[in-house]
Amino acid sequence: MDIQLKRGLLDVCVLAAIKNEDSYGYQIVKDIKPYVEISESTLYPILRRLEAAECLSVRSVEHNGRLRKYYHILPPGRERIDQFTTDWREIESIHEFITRGGERHE
């Protein structure tokens, strides 16, 4: 898949993975993996970017004698997801136009 496209998709995937409940790094990777190729090293810059953009917040929780970071979605993060679904509807109609081979709709 095109790198720029994948990058944009992954940001939204990460937000979607924490949309309903807070989640931690490894769980996020496991949740997204069946759909898009992602590794811990790819996830890290995305989390940093989203945190800087105030799309999510981080808190540390003790787990098995060590710290585990949980990521919590913030309102701008939810807006990003909504924006994506709106954009996607537009892309779908473009996709339809492309697969029709640019023929005029009668």
């Binding site: 490894y26 590794s39 940093r48």
Partner: protein, 199 residues
């Protein structure tokens, strides 16, 4: 490689990057290795799954803005003490011209490189235009001056156009090459500020 070796190697590779970022990164990868081990992987496997340390460090370097790197190098991440600000202001007549000179040299090199590219483009364009003109011009030439002149003009035109086509490919490769070069010079400038600290 075990976890501690991985952490140490990563630490080494991240020297020069703001200390907060280093801590965050180390903590993140420590957590990820622990998670994989809890999931049943051996320590070695979990470390290997993180990928190459150089790649990790490069990615973080590429995402840290140059201004942050410079500021961090100059101040060590702390706000400037008053006497340093005074020194900076008093030293302005010295360091501003020096900085401007360094900047101008870099800019000049950049302009020279791109001028050469533009010159090459102009040559290609001129050859193409004159070649095509010679080819078209051979028709009236034949009518007015005879077959010999026509053949001369046609041949010359074909040669010019041919060279122009070849040069076009050279030009394309050069533009791509120079663009890549500019990018790596930029990354190089960034890493100067990072590596010096590490040395």
């Amino acid at each position: 490689m075990n976890k501690e070796q991985f952490i140490l190697a990563l630490y080494d590779e991240l020297k020069g990057i703001p200390i907060d970022d280093v801590e965050k990164t180390i903590n993140y990868y420590r957590e990820m290795i622990d998670e994989r081990m809890e999931d049943g992987m051996s320590e070695e496997e979990a470390v290997a799954a993180m990928g190459s340390i150089q790649d990790i460090a490069e990615q973080i370097l590429a995402e840290t803005p140059l201004t942050t790197l410079v500021r961090d190098k100059v101040t060590g991440g702390k706000p400037l003490p008053t006497w340093e600000i005074v020194l900076l202001v008093l030293g302005a007549p010295l360091w501003i011209p020096l900085g401007a000179a360094a900047f101008s040299i870099l800019l000049a090199v950049y302009i020279v490189i791109w001028s050469m590219v533009i010159a090459l483009g102009a040559v290609t364009f001129a050859l193409a235009v004159s070649g095509i003109a010679c080819i078209i011009g051979c028709v009236p030439l034949m009518l007015r001056m005879g077959v010999a002149y026509m053949l001369f003009s046609l041949g010359g035109g074909l040669v010019c156009t041919g060279i122009a086509v070849l040069l076009f490919f050279v030009l394309r490769a050069t533009v791509i090459g120079v663009a890549k070069l500019s990018r790596s010079i930029w990354l190089g400038i960034k890493s100067i500020f990072v590596r010096k600290e590490a040395a």
